[in-house]
Symmetry: C3
Subunit: 341 residues, 3 copies
């Protein structure tokens, strides 16, 4: 009694343009994660555990007689990390209106910083290994303040913001805004930011020939969240290289990235990043250093590096393996399978 929802490309092509539809897509990835920060006798988690994610994405849309597209998206996603498996949950919805190359999104927005080309690794997981391995390669991630910018949330409700995107002739511009009225509001506080951060993000990118240059900035009323990022990437076919840099509210981080196709199905990627310490001026000014505040954590300033290998099996499936050493000396190695549908 099973229904096949997959309809071949030929059928899609001959069908009249759909005024309204629901599309399902997604991916599964699963494998083994070795993480030397785990110890079954210390934190109750074995050093080697299953890491997995199953994502099913629902894309819904309608198109007006005038060619304006309305769309919306949410995901159902199940994850297991550190032998802590979860049931699948939906995230918050993102709504969009598209017309003449301009897209306006509302709700669980992408975010201008998040959408900057050259922010994430050129791998299927956008990081090292099978689950990204903490995304230490990202120049916006410093000082135990990871992902402190507006970004599409895959398991939560997201930023509940608004954004405008425009793309034309290799140029992309992106402006995003959110105000986080969370539940910890302090009644009577005489300012507009009682509930949480207000964030404004802007991103500009331009691609020509094999090159892409991009810059992004976020302004926030929360400490450590003002940041400026730039990237420059070259995709020469068999070879690719990229450099990225961010000033994260005074903490610089630089990343260098390279990847090469080997034979018909393999790709090998390497990265190296260097993160500055919190400046003495900031510390003297009472701006806390999250890395020191977390008991037992090592300083994160310094170098991280990693290597990732991918083997394409065809049909949307691949084998992925990666090792990385974070600046706090944490080692992880992951290997597994990734398939999309």
């Amino acid at each position: 009694m099973k229904k096949i929802l997959f309809v071949t490309t030929a059928l899609i092509a001959t069908a009249s343009v759909a005024a309204a539809d629901v599309r399902l897509s997604g991916y599964g990835r699963f494998g083994l994660d070795y993480n030397d920060a785990n110890d079954r006798n210390v934190n109750g988690v074995s050093k080697t555990t299953i890491t997995s994610r199953l994502r099913l994405q629902f894309d819904m849309s309608a198109e007006t007689d005038g060619g304006v597209q309305f769309d919306a998206r949410f995901r159902a996603q199940a994850e297991s990390r550190d032998n802590n498996p979860g049931t699948a949950v939906f995230n918050g919805a993102r709504f969009g209106v598209v017309y003449n190359g301009v897209r306006v999104n509302v709700g669980n927005i992408i975010g201008a910083v998040e959408n900057m080309p050259g922010l994430y690794l050129e791998t299927r997981t956008a990081g090292i290994g099978i689950d990204g391995a903490g995304f230490v390669s990202v120049v916006g991630n410093v000082n135990n303040e990871y992902f402190n910018w507006d970004a599409y949330s895959s398991a939560g409700s997201g930023a509940n913001g608004v954004e405008v995107l425009y793309s034309a002739n290799g140029f992309t511009g992106h402006l995003s805004y959110s105000t986080d009225n969370d539940s910890t509001v302090n009644p009577g506080v005489p300012n507009g930011n009682a509930g949480g951060p207000d964030r404004i993000g802007v991103m500009l990118a331009y691609s020509w020939n094999d090159f892409t240059v991009a810059a992004a900035h976020q302004s926030s009323d929360i400490m450590w969240e003002d940041k400026t990022l730039v990237s420059f990437a070259w995709d020469g076919g068999q070879y690719g290289a990229r450099i990225a840099y961010a000033d994260n509210d005074g903490i610089d981080k630089l990343g260098i990235y390279g990847n090469v196709d080997i034979g018909a199905a393999s790709n090998l990627l390497l990265f190296w990043t260097d993160e500055d310490a919190v400046s003495a001026t900031d510390v003297a000014a009472g701006r806390n250093d999250n890395r020191d505040a977390i008991a037992g954590s090592n300083q994160q300033e310094g170098s991280s590096y990693g290597i990732h290998y991918s083997y394409d099996l065809g049909g949307g499936a691949s084998l992925e393996a990666g090792y990385r050493r974070a600046s706090n000396d944490n080692d992880t190695f992951q290997v597994g399978a990734y398939f999309s549908f």
Copy 2:
């Protein structure tokens, strides 16, 4: 790797009758809500916030050799109101059996009162604006006892009841029953209603030419829930008018509604309601008045009114805007987009 689930009408027509299937449909709506009851410095919510909903409905069915249809439905829905965004959640399931015009439902039932024609506004949201704006136009909603009848729950488990519906020749009859065995049961209480309300609902409606007349009644063992509602509607094509009245356990509410098509794509709707106070007899008898019991709330007796404008964009999409003043002097204005798929 995306799959298009939309299959054109032509394909449906030529396909053999499906003995079993799963259908997906739904809608998205999003916009801005101005509500003068909010104040970021008082309750932490800005006066103007995003209001949105994304609903994806799953309709599943099978048909026996003898032509009996079994069906079931649940929804996944994400909502954001007052800048409090949520992830999508499923509701409870409704099961149905249909044969010869008779439908029996079990579980998250529609409810006889809820199903009465002429209860809700003739708008896409069934209320004013983009999210209904509190549905003050409904004559069954009085005395801060809103929606105190059995109704299909879009985000909860529902009434867990049973109902029978019959339609033929313009006539519709509907009988519903539920018993709410909630978790606050009082062991040893020697009656059958320890856990929550038992509700019986009945609804009769008849349509002829451009007219529809309907009446509904709910009997409950909980205060304020016995109610009788009637409606009379005329749909004359370009113009429509309706009157509705309810006796809500002694509290009368009257509503008058009118709408007009303007040009090819616009519709304008107006409503006015008047709600009586709780009678002195009831108050003397110790029947509490919820409106007074809520600290700081204004009396709700008196008049509400509102206006709604809709512009059809084609392809299932429209722009919706509406203002309403509730009887407690609360003003809301909403504008946004609505699209179905």
Copy 3:
């Protein structure tokens, strides 16, 4: 705006082999449950309540150029029992790789014991009535330690294990392993099992002509979970018979089962089981007897029996009715409808 996801068999047959797809299927079942253990004046639950389940299963897959299949599954399921209705929830994901008759699963695994042929009843619900009625017929369920083996979880995250299955020429072999690192870990405990049970399961089955013989074993580091099960079944078309036996960590349980087709659409099934008491040696050794430990519960050792009737309506729908008496003298009778899609 509804989409029909059902695609006829003919279309499936002519479509090219899908490299990646999403399939939806499931079932609904609903009916009445009479359970003499309930009493609205005692535990707040009426003796007769609605019991229902709506299951929608998502099967996602991709196939490599080399013919290796990757797949994944989760379910959304809504249930109501004892007038306690719930909203639908997802379960945890299971990932699989299939090649040349060998399947490796990761995550929410099936489990070797759970997969043993001859463990469950030959009914649509795998038990008596419309919701299984507690599955007292299963020889692995003893001593208030029901379902204490690794099994696919329909509403939870599951065992987060790994398993290998192989089938060829009527033979099936199944090996499963899980380690439950739950959150109750005791830091510093110098053994590998601080967080929960490690379970290893093995199952072997062989079918020839009308016969199937199967055996399974689970080894665990938790009390009452070491168990060995065997079954022998004959399916002679109109008639079927089965015998099953399990040693549940010292507690024997035997079951005898028979069913017969009556006419073109009916089937009648009978079962009888007998469960031994916890041995005096075990009790003397301080191994607790859960049956005595639960206040007010009757001893469960002794006989259970039941009868089930099914009437096929065609199109995937049927009527199901069943009565069973458990060894603790609990009586249940259920009747309802079941349809798949």
